[in-house]
């Protein structure tokens, strides 16, 4: 599996009087088995970027290559590409339509024209992986709670057994408990299946805790593509882009400025606790 962006630009309404340059010469490689986070302010081009990954949008200039083949190539089977690069949109309400949860999850595999036994196997597998209880399988998707709908939506894409799973704000609108559960489930998925994950998120706390690398977008450009610790070192620059670092990073910086000898690139609470303990130990 390889997914690569080469000098990709995308312009909205190119022929109108107000063209919007949503992506500017993006160069990016999504590496196999890595858990990425994609962060950026509203309008930074995150959604446009992820929609280029599975060919829902095609670049105005440049190429998106999947396994070395340009996505907009004539030989590219878009349906197959979309089953390999699974994209889950933000609102589960936009995709749930079947009479039951189980049938809805079968929609993707059915479109892949798989044999019935395989569809059944994949759907059950996906529902278990996302932690949807078996008692819910025969219910209408419209009867579920927000968090459960989210899981079913993810299962619907996961059932196609993609190599990359892209999740657009999977935790938006969930309470903290539901948010943590979904994120843990995603992390588990990443660890058990070694599936590549791209998580679009607003929450720096979530991102710091779970991902391997962070891609920061600003005004259509990629500003950083690095490990969480390295990215959150640029607190001032991030704030200028309308982003922030995790709360605990601010606390550590403050402590350091007050004279406590702690590192200031700490990004999770448990790391911070260890660091403070170390610093206070005589």
């Amino acid at each position: 599996m390889s997914l690569e962006f080469k000098d990709v630009s995308y312009i909205y309404d190119a022929d109108s009087n107000i063209p919007v340059n949503a992506l500017k010469d993006i160069n990016l490689e999504i590496k196999e088995g890595v858990f990425y986070a994609l962060i950026g302010h509203t309008g930074s081009g995150k959604s446009t970027l992820v929609q280029h990954m599975n060919g829902l949008m095609s670049p105005t200039r440049g190429e998106v290559l999947y396994n070395g083949v340009p996505v907009r190539d004539k030989d590219m089977n878009l349906r197959e590409l979309r089953s390999k690069v699974g994209l889950v949109f933000q609102y589960p309400e936009h995709q749930l339509f079947e009479v039951s949860v189980y049938d809805d999850v079968c929609f993707g595999p059915k479109n892949m024209k798989l044999p019935p036994e395989e569809i059944k196997k994949r759907a059950e597998d996906a529902l278990r992986l996302t932690g949807v209880d078996e008692s819910l399988w025969k219910l209408s998707p419209f009867e579920l709670s927000g968090g459960q709908k989210r899981r079913v939506a993810i299962a619907g894409v996961l059932a196609m057994q993609p190599e990359i799973l892209i999740l657009d704000e999977p935790t938006a609108g969930l309470d903290p408990g539901g948010r943590d559960e979904i994120l843990k489930q995603i992390k588990l998925l990443h660890e058990s299946r070694r599936i590549t994950i791209v998580l679009v998120s607003h929450s720096m706390e979530d991102v710091a805790r779970f991902v391997d690398r962070i891609i920061v977008m600003n005004k259509g450009c990629i500003e950083y593509n690095d490990t969480p610790a390295n990215v959150f070192r640029h607190v001032e620059e991030l704030e200028e882009m309308g982003l922030s670092a995790p709360m605990v990073t601010y606390v550590m910086r403050k402590l350091r400025s007050l004279g406590l000898p702690v590192k200031d690139d700490v990004i999770t609470v448990s790391e911070a606790a260890d660091e403070i303990e170390q610093a206070l130990r005589p």
């Binding site: 979309r82 949109f89 309400e93 479109n111």
Partner: protein, 266 residues
């Protein structure tokens, strides 16, 4: 997806026509259409042309936008021209196989085409220079005498503005739902008629669910703000006439008088 629908599309600009009271523009459109259909000779059409060109220039809307609106009715015009051209009995000018072009047919076909094109262009100018809300406000105000007859004028106007307001929202939603389903391998332009109709189910179900949810939310939000219909309801931006509007009415009176005079005299 969004580019395809131009009907009722407002073009942002700051021309005299944009600032004009929507009531003048609505009345103007009706008078213009009346004048257009009264035209029976060259002078009548010339009058309509002069008025149309003046209004287009005043509107500051690029002609490109007006022509875009014409595409949708091109077929209608073609059919009208075709039938009038060949089906009108009269003096034969030219004939191919069983089809005969007559002098009368040619005349009717040409005038019909001109009328249709002018009609659409004229009403397009109104919708291009007036916001949908302006249109419904104007319509409500013009129809308010009907309230005496207990016609639900305010309610109809409110429904119209809500419907118009929801068009872009639902278009946006359709786009998102299509993408979400395409990401799961759905295809909306493949297979025979029955397969295509079936493929719309994953699109229509979420769309209807969301439309009903939005309608419910909106009703609740309106009630929470004490909305209870048209009685004693005031407007945030009440319509009032200014000098340019009176000038507009004066021009319209001249237009209709001239049209009648041409009709009677020539």
């Amino acid at each position: 997806m969004k580019e395809r629908i131009t009907l009722g599309q407002y073009y942002q600009a700051d021309s005299v026509l944009h600032r004009m009271d929507p009531r003048v523009k609505l009345t103007g459109t009706i008078i213009y259409i009346a004048a257009l259909f009264m035209a029976g000779n060259v002078w009548g059409y010339l009058l309509a042309t002069v008025f149309l060109v003046t209004v287009i220039v005043l509107s500051e809307v690029p002609v490109k936008f007006m022509l875009r609106g014409m595409k949708s009715i091109a077929l209608l015009i073609a059919i009208t021209v075709f039938f009038n051209l060949f089906m009108t009995p009269g003096e034969v000018l030219y004939s191919v196989w069983k089809l005969k072009i007559t002098r009368e047919g040619l005349y009717i076909a040409v005038t019909m085409a001109i009328r249709l094109v002018y009609l659409i262009m004229g009403s397009n100018i109104m919708t291009l220079t007036t916001t949908p809300n302006g249109l419904t406000d104007g319509l409500e105000s013009l129809l308010s005498p009907l309230k005496v007859l207990h016609a639900p004028v305010h309610e109809v106007a409110m429904m119209m503005s809500i419907a118009l307001r929801f068009i872009p929202i639902l278009m946006d939603e359709t786009d998102k739902i299509m993408k979400a389903q395409m990401a799961r391998g759905a295809c909306f332009d493949e297979g025979n008629l029955i397969e295509r109709a079936k493929s719309l189910v994953p699109l229509l179900v979420p769309l209807f669910v969301s439309a009903f949810r939005r309608a419910g939310d909106l009703a609740l939000a309106m009630e929470a703000r004490c909305y209870r219909g048209g009685e004693h309801r005031t407007k945030m931006k009440p319509l009032h006439y200014e000098l340019r509007d009176y000038v507009g009415y004066a021009v319209l009176v001249i237009l209709i008088t001239a049209a009648i005079l041409i009709r009677v005299l020539c």
